[in-house]
């Protein structure tokens, strides 16, 4: 296989659709290397669950709220698994970045990229916001087009080189700076049990014992305190916009409205089987309940945004709902933390 043309005839990558981009990419890349792993599992051992309300970072002029770990966290965790090594590079120069991508593709290596959604023409128009932490896998090139396995799409897609380079060098918050990565080495088997414990432990630490008041369970409560004051502080219209933004962040593609809580529950169910720990199964149910409460909040928020508020819908009622989420998550994380401590 010398030339790119020859290579492009047989790009082989098992594309599996997933609910979230980063965990999907991680699972797909590992599966490609022969380590069969589900998306939820990758999300869990990558410690993907999180909460952060960071009003000093702005997206389209609205505060950053995240229900999952910062972009790249899952991949970093996966890369730090003993036996796994991942090559990762950011670029300044566009041509260099594309040349290095082509070089890897020539060697039949599927390459993960961080991109900005706004510049990807195959995305539906309604989702093309300036959001820069989208992950995808490029696994081949045909002529001027790259073959892309975008985990949130049902089928592999194609993208012109010119558009891809724009997406790789999107500017603004979380700018990808051409970031590319691929796995260079994987162990023969994953030590699932240890990884599960490690993953759970790291999430508990973030959610419960962060000294920073804007993240974890404290962050959820902080958001609820702020949210009550939005109508007075910002005026009705701006408050509704902020509210809509919170809900939009909660429902990134495929989370079903639960801000990744459902995906984490799926991970806990899977882990319960591997670890033979019924406790994890119970925790999964608690997370389902927490996700449902988040949904309840979002549904109320949507009614308010739409001006169809029911009599008992109000900002204080929503804040109360978020506080309930915080309380539920605090309990279940405390349980998980205990469990992880016992097993490590």
């Amino acid at each position: 296989m010398n030339s790119l043309e020859e290579y492009s005839l047989l790009p082989d990558f098992s594309h599996k659709q997933s609910a979230h981009c980063e965990s999907g990419v991680a699972a797909n890349l590992l599966t490609h290397q022969g380590l069969d792993i589900s998306e939820a599992m990758a999300f869990g051992i990558g410690g993907g669950l999180f909460f952060g309300y960071l009003p000093f970072i702005r997206i389209n002029g609205l505060p950053l709220i995240t229900y999952r770990a910062a972009a790249g966290h899952i991949l970093r965790q996966i890369a730090s698994i003993p036996g796994v090594s991942m090559y990762q590079k950011k670029f300044r120069n566009r041509d260099e970045a594309m040349a290095e991508l082509d070089k890897a593709l020539m060697a039949s290596i599927p390459v993960g990229l961080q991109t900005g959604v706004f510049w990807l023409p195959y995305f539906p128009k309604a989702l093309r916001f300036h959001f820069n932490a989208h992950n995808l896998v490029v696994y081949g090139k045909e002529g001027d087009e790259y073959l892309i396995s975008d985990p949130v799409f049902p089928q592999p897609v194609r993208c012109k080189a010119d558009d891809l380079v724009r997406a790789r060098f999107a500017s603004g918050a979380l700018a990808p700076k051409g970031k590319m990565y691929y796995l260079t080495q994987v162990p023969e088997m994953l030590e699932s049990r240890q990884l599960i414990i490690r993953g759970i432990h790291s999430v508990c630490k973030m959610m419960l014992s962060s000294p920073f008041p804007l993240i974890g369970v404290k962050g959820i409560r902080f958001l609820s305190n702020r949210l009550v004051k939005w109508p007075q502080r910002l005026g009705r219209e701006r408050a509704d916009l902020h509210l809509g933004h919170v809900v939009r962040m909660q429902e990134e593609i495929g989370t079903g409205g639960g801000g990744f809580r459902f995906m984490y529950a799926a991970f806990l169910q899977e882990s319960a089987e591997i670890m033979q720990a019924p406790l994890l199964y119970d925790c999964a149910s608690s997370f389902t309940a927490a996700g449902d409460t988040w949904r309840e909040f979002a549904a109320m928020a949507a009614r308010i945004c739409k001006d169809r508020a029911r009599p008992d819908d109000s900002y204080p009622a929503m804040a109360e709902c978020i506080n309930r989420c915080a309380a539920m998550e605090e309990t279940v994380f405390a349980e998980l933390k205990q469990w992880a401590k016992q097993h490590s």
């Binding site: 659709q17 128009k125 500017s171 593609i253 995906m263 799926a266």
Partner: protein
Amino acid sequence: MENPEYSSGEGITAGLKIVSYAVNNKGEYELRPDFVWQPVNVVNHQAWLEIDKKITQSRKKVAAGRVSCLHYYMTANQMDTGLLAQYTGQPRWKVFLHLVPLIFNRLSANTLKKYAELYKIAPDDLIKGRLLPPLYNHE
């Protein structure tokens, strides 16, 4: 967990079939195709209404000669001066000045080319002040 009703796929994903985690009747999680959760359509719609509102305002301002057509392209592509400055590698105050019609009309061909390339339009469109649809609406 109550599973929300299936919708026709209209709304946020505009026909894209996504998968989500949901419990089946045995209480186990599985990836389910094509379920669209209503509130997200509402808030997504809200975000687009806001963008459309800004675009309409910008069109009016351009028509009234209060800002240059660059303001329209910036707004239509969901950017602000800061983001546009980053994309074109200029300081923010320069971009800010370029929104003033008088200054915009005297821009060098090079600077115009930068903007035109970013928005995938011809420099001539900028000079003539044609308001073409934003990038994500080209097709």
